[in-house]
Assembly symmetry: C2
Homo-oligomer: 479 residues x 2
């Protein structure tokens, strides 16, 4: 893309964003005619082409429709009136997670390459800078043929730790390279954090729903999960957590404050601050899984680490959602209290993260294209989420509730009463559509009326058709 | 190397091996003159150059010396009369492993790039086919830019599982690709195996001494280690293990039957068979760490799996000692009883092993150069071990005992009475020499009179000088 192209894209995208916001917040009402292309162009000082491009995008997002010889009208859109799911109300006792064969099958099926991929929480390879990364890998191996082959330090290669530390300032608090330990993806980081902060049999507080990978880690390590009520908009209910801490001996707490998987929720800053305060006061390790943090739609959200004064927060990030899942590179900032224990656990399980992927990512980050890639990726995913929301809202029966994510690319859908998510999952899979049913996100098997849909793939007619067919299945399940 | 070169190398190496064996088994006695170059050449039907090359090698191995105008004489060599260390006699109670800061420091120091590297159990990069692997990585990324970037299957990429399965027939029993799960090095495989077969608090029987990485894993997972007497020649004492199993509830047993780290011991086949029989009879998972199995000096040693009729053996291998430590690729054959549990533990900790290193290794193996590389590597390491043994035997004071490894590249040295391995380690490190002191190989801190030396690096004057200086330190510590 040339610079001129890029400036053009920016102008029309900005305009489309402004108008979309006006539709969403009600400034432009359903049925209202939006200003003509000419008037809008004059008003904003942009060309007719730019305005038309912006209007076409609003059309694609199902926010407006063009009426022949009349203009563009705001659609009587349900998407912004479909309510979000309610705060969860899990049981009050810690639960031993038990993965069943069914769940294994579900998780395996979510990456079925032949199905329409609404299941796995993975960005489509087409959205990732794979060629650039491959070039970096080649450059690294040419530069020093031996460097990629020796054991790296358990903490990771210095080049990458430096780049990760540099990026931390986006999150509200700086970090030094020595604060960072590179891991085999965020998954290993979570496993290390659990092992370093708790012992077998300990209770780990988790959000309800929680990412099933975290639940699997808790199960695999013989810990028990305590589900805390969590709001699809504002994340974990800090009051409920505080109450639970008074009733149970909790060894650690794992939260995803930014763009929770599967909720897409974002904790308000004041709640983040309260959460950190409570954890610090009680000395309970607070594990922050921030794998989606870079995929914000508006502002970079601050990390819990911003409020941490005594090394209580264990912060976790990943390149799997933004660069290359198959490189298996994530990181952990264990904080001063847990650094030694995390380091030992790393040595005792995988010794070090594979060197070539680390060096390739470091080279790519140093090259400077990452931020540009992220800006583009965020826009794409935001639009994708908007389309998927609009489509689900338009097609699914009344009684459906829909999350409104502020980042990431996942939708959490409450099905109308009586529709069973596991049955829907089986039916959808048989029809070549992969989705993630709610029960895999709960150690107690809750969320039988929920499904998670992923908007991580380029929008296509195939996706649109899959959502229509899903809607029909939901409808027929209600009868 | 041309074919002619290679045939030439083979002839002289074969001759040198035969003669070395004759020195070792006493056919040629200390002080004896070996046949002249001409006679030897006639006898074996090889050229004078070939014989001379073989004699020079025997000289380098300190088996013979040239006397001017007289010929080659068998040296009054101590190396083959220095006795091996005795069978260990550990305590009889399971021990909670406790890693100390001192041990962390020791392990970290063992890879100090500035020190003479007698510490870490790593092959020198110069001995590994790094260029060929880099070419494979490049080819793989060019072939399909996306393939390296998607999440792989938790079990590993099919190409690599196939190649690993193919190689299993060397170990006495065939395997199918579905039997193989690729891991982040043997270290992850051991951690997965412990998690899949035992629970926190369980007792895990280990050899005495045991690889410290295994001890760290047992500690990190909250298991207890039970040390079983182990012979530096024949490996774990199966009678002692059987006795211990009668006295303790043991959850699993971890052994290294082939070229044990640090002992270099090799279990006789009859003992392997007995060991598997006992484990199967009692239903105790038997974890076989075979990271060094490919580095035999004579015959490929059979795996415990050969005798396993009911899926009790969990077999572990690695490319870290033969190809590329930094790629972090190992594997596990969990056996029928433990496959599901190991698979779940893999998903719950690192999800999958990084894809590009797996594909690169698969490409390299498919290319067919691996066996040739291994043949060369085995010869090099065998010679290196011979030289290091000879040097230690010649320089260290009386009272020293020395292992006689049948594969791998590690020497286990019993220091004369009164010499403390931790003090020697500290002194050596201050003098720029890294070694591994015995206590890191025992959960109860035994082996204070032992050190492990690595012969994994090309022999040089620097190594020779380091051994001389170590010998002097040992001597002065005795006073």
């Amino acid at each position: 893309m040339s610079d001129a192209d890029s400036a053009y894209a920016y102008a029309y995208e900005r305009l489309a964003d402004q108008l979309a916001e006006q539709v969403r917040n009600g400034t432009l009402r359903p049925g209202e005619r939006i200003p003509s292309v000419r008037r809008m162009g004059e008003h904003h000082g942009v060309s007719v082409t730019t305005v038309l491009q912006a209007y076409r995008k609003l059309e694609a997002l199902r926010l407006v429709e063009a009426k022949p010889k009349s203009g563009f009208y705001v659609l009587p859109e349900r998407a912004y009136r479909v309510p979000p799911p309610r705060v969860s109300t899990p049981g009050k006792a810690p639960t031993l997670v038990t993965t069943t064969d069914l769940m294994d099958t579900i998780v395996a099926a979510s990456t079925d390459p032949d199905a329409v991929p609404l299941g796995a929480a993975l960005p489509d390879p087409a959205l990732l800078p794979l060629r650039a990364l491959s070039r970096s890998m080649g450059a690294v191996l040419r530069r020093d043929v031996a460097s990629g082959h020796a054991y790296g330090s358990p903490s990771g290669v210095p080049e990458l730790r430096r780049e990760i530390a540099k990026r931390e300032w986006h999150t509200g608090r700086t970090a030094a390279p020595e604060d960072v330990l590179v891991t085999c993806g965020a998954a290993e980081a979570v496993s290390l954090a659990i092992r370093a902060t708790t012992e077998a049999g300990d209770v780990v507080a988790v959000e309800s729903p929680a990412f099933f990978g975290t639940l699997q880690a808790i199960e695999g390590l013989g810990r028990r999960a305590l589900e805390i009520p969590t709001c699809p908009v504002d994340g974990i209910d800090v009051d409920a957590l505080e109450h639970a801490l008074g009733r149970h001996r909790v060894g650690a707490c794992i939260v995803t404050p930014n763009f929770h998987n599967p909720l897409g929720s974002l904790m308000p800053e004041v709640e983040k601050e309260r959460l950190v305060g409570i954890a610090c006061e009680r000395g309970i390790p607070l594990i922050e899984d921030d794998a989606f943090g870079e995929l914000y739609f508006d502002q970079p959200p601050p990390s819990l680490r911003s409020w941490d004064e005594d090394g209580t927060v264990v912060r976790i990030g990943s390149f799997s959602k933004t660069l290359a899942p198959g490189y298996r590179v994530g990181w952990i900032l264990p904080g001063s209290r847990h650094m030694t224990a995390v380091h030992r656990q790393k040595l005792a399980s995988t010794v070090a993260t594979a060197t070539p992927p680390q060096l390739a990512i470091a080279d790519y980050l140093t090259g400077g294209g990452y931020d540009k890639h992220l800006r583009k990726l965020r826009r794409l995913l935001r639009d994708n989420v908007g389309r998927l929301r609009a489509e689900v809202a338009a097609r699914f029966p009344d009684g459906t509730r829909l999350s409104r994510p502020r980042g990431g690319f996942l939708l959490w859908v409450r099905l109308p009463d009586g529709v069973d998510a596991l049955e829907l999952h089986a039916k959808a899979l048989a029809a070549g559509i992969s989705i993630s049913p709610g029960p895999i996100f709960s150690p107690s098997g809750a969320f039988r009326s929920f499904v998670r849909l992923s908007a991580g793939h380029p929008w296509s007619e195939r996706t649109e058709d899959a959502v229509d067919r899903l809607a029909a299945m939901v409808g027929s399940a209600m009868v």
